[in-house]
Amino acid sequence: MEDMNARSPVLVLEPQRGWGLVRSAAADLRAGLRLFPLAAALGWLDIKMRYRGSILGPLWLTLSTAVMIGATGVVYGYLFHMDLKTYLPFLSLSIVLWGYIGTVVNDAGTVFTQNTPLFHSMRIPASLPVMQVIVRNLLILLHNIVVVAVVFAVFRIWPHQIWSLLFSLPVWIVDSFCVILLIGMLGARFRDIAPIVASLMQIFFFVTPVIWKPELITTGRQYLLLDPFYSLLEIVRAPLLGRTVDAVVWGAALGHSVLLWLLAAILFCRMRSRIPYWI
């Protein structure tokens, strides 16, 4: 535990039990939050470095998303016999939002293992690389939102109920933090986690109403609520498209979230100090 207010910082390290685990986990979180500006800078550098030396730079993100949405929109619009005027806005928003979810979850498995040299060269709060992944993916999301804006503009649709983001985005941010922490720790301990998660996300992409509209399911739609990604996607997507979100969908989103928070908190308290041993 660190006390930065003291003139000389004091660091006491010993095995913890019970509340001690919670206190040292909380101290680690506080130390991480103080380093948030650094996490933000690192997240931005990740993107800058990936496109260093390319002509379009981060605009490649926007461009490849546009190509993806254009191609999927035409093919699936034809297959599902959808009217492009309603389908394309839905699809662009879905794919961009899913892009965020998918990469956050996939990046999570290697969040600690990728930073091994750093973790072995000094004491680092575990939440620092976690925040770095969130910032990086939020920046990618911002690049991709441009495509959604263009699609909306082309079809002369104005996003509805923008205020709803005030409620849904905080849930997304906290969920991102917890899911990265949780899968990151598991991935540090078991190297099989990252590939398992990657293939699960493939399945979820098709099972969750991302490229197809939830209305296509007529019977048994309530089972969709068991898919955590459905309700979480819906609380952001539906209001923007002008549909109302059922209370039960919000309930499912919060239920899944709380479960995730609890799991992540318990595991983080127990496993935090073992991360440098595992990686």
Binding site: L11, L13, P15, L35, F119, S121, P276, Y277
Partner: protein, 256 residues
């Protein structure tokens, strides 16, 4: 008052070799517990116990302001692990470590630098990791630039550096500001000719300013020169803890 108190410190490493680290094993173990006759039960029977390497066992010592401790011992004696435990990287499995004072760790020659970033960017990032203010970082950047003499390479990615250049950058950065407690591994003593002399002076200044030094090295003459106390580690135990001359005489006689 800066100080280090280490009390019965133990560090064990779980060994996750090949299959022993896999999820299959863990799932198998759990299944075995619930259903001892299930098909997966045989997976675990032979190697149920985790292999554990005990790297440090019951290490105790206290360092007060002004003490400079040298760590000596053969490879695998636990020197680097002890330094990392003091740095708070590996938290104790048993026992207790208490540190008071600002600390800097020079453990790994790459200093966790990112090869895709320029020298300048790496310097600024490192400063931010340590929570320094913008002015402090500016000062360090200037200082490292003067010392490492990288010229235009300061703004090139570190992966384009020659080995010597990256050592100069890492060394300059590592020694740019004086902490109260300095933990050093021996990599920084590897170097050549002119740079070594320059580095030696700079390092000596830093060591003088630090109130507590813990240094791991194989070079006895450096220990006699810099340290006031030497800890001889052998297989994770303290074999001897005394003044440099006393320990080194026995150690050198022992290793031949």
């Amino acid at each position: 008052m800066p100080g280090i108190v280490v009390d019965r410190l133990c560090i064990d490493f779980p060994l996750y070799h090949g299959q022993s680290r896999s999820l299959k094993r863990q799932v198998g173990k759990t299944l075995t517990r619930f259903a001892p006759s299930s098909p997966s039960a045989h997976l675990m029977h032979d190697q149920r116990e985790r292999t554990i390497v005990s790297v440090l066992r019951e290490i105790s010592f206290t360092l007060r302001s002004g003490e400079r401790l040298g760590l000596i011992g053969s490879n695998g004696a636990g020197k680097t692990t002890l330094l990392r435990a003091l740095a708070g990287i590996y938290e104790p499995v048993a026992g207790r470590v208490r540190l008071e004072g600002t600390m800097r760790t020079l453990l790994d020659s790459s200093l966790g630098m990112n090869p895709d970033l320029t020298g300048r960017e790496n310097i600024r990032l490192k400063g931010r990791y340590e929570g320094l203010s913008r002015q402090q970082i500016d000062r360090i950047e200037q200082d490292v630039q003067d010392f490492a003499e990288l010229g235009p390479y300061m703004d090139m990615p570190v992966k384009a550096y020659s080995a010597g250049m990256s050592v100069r950058l890492a060394f300059g950065l590592a020694t740019a500001s004086a902490p109260e407690i300095l933990l050093m591994d021996e990599w920084f003593l590897a170097g050549d000719g002119i740079f070594m002399n320059k580095a030696r002076t700079r390092l000596e200044e830093l060591v003088q300013k630090a109130e507590i030094l813990v240094l791991s090295t194989h070079q006895p003459e450096i220990m006699r020169q810099w340290c006031t106390r030497v800890l001889w580690l052998e297989n994770g135990h303290v074999r001897m803890d005394a003044s440099p001359d006393e320990v080194l005489d026995v150690y050198l006689a022992h290793t031949g």
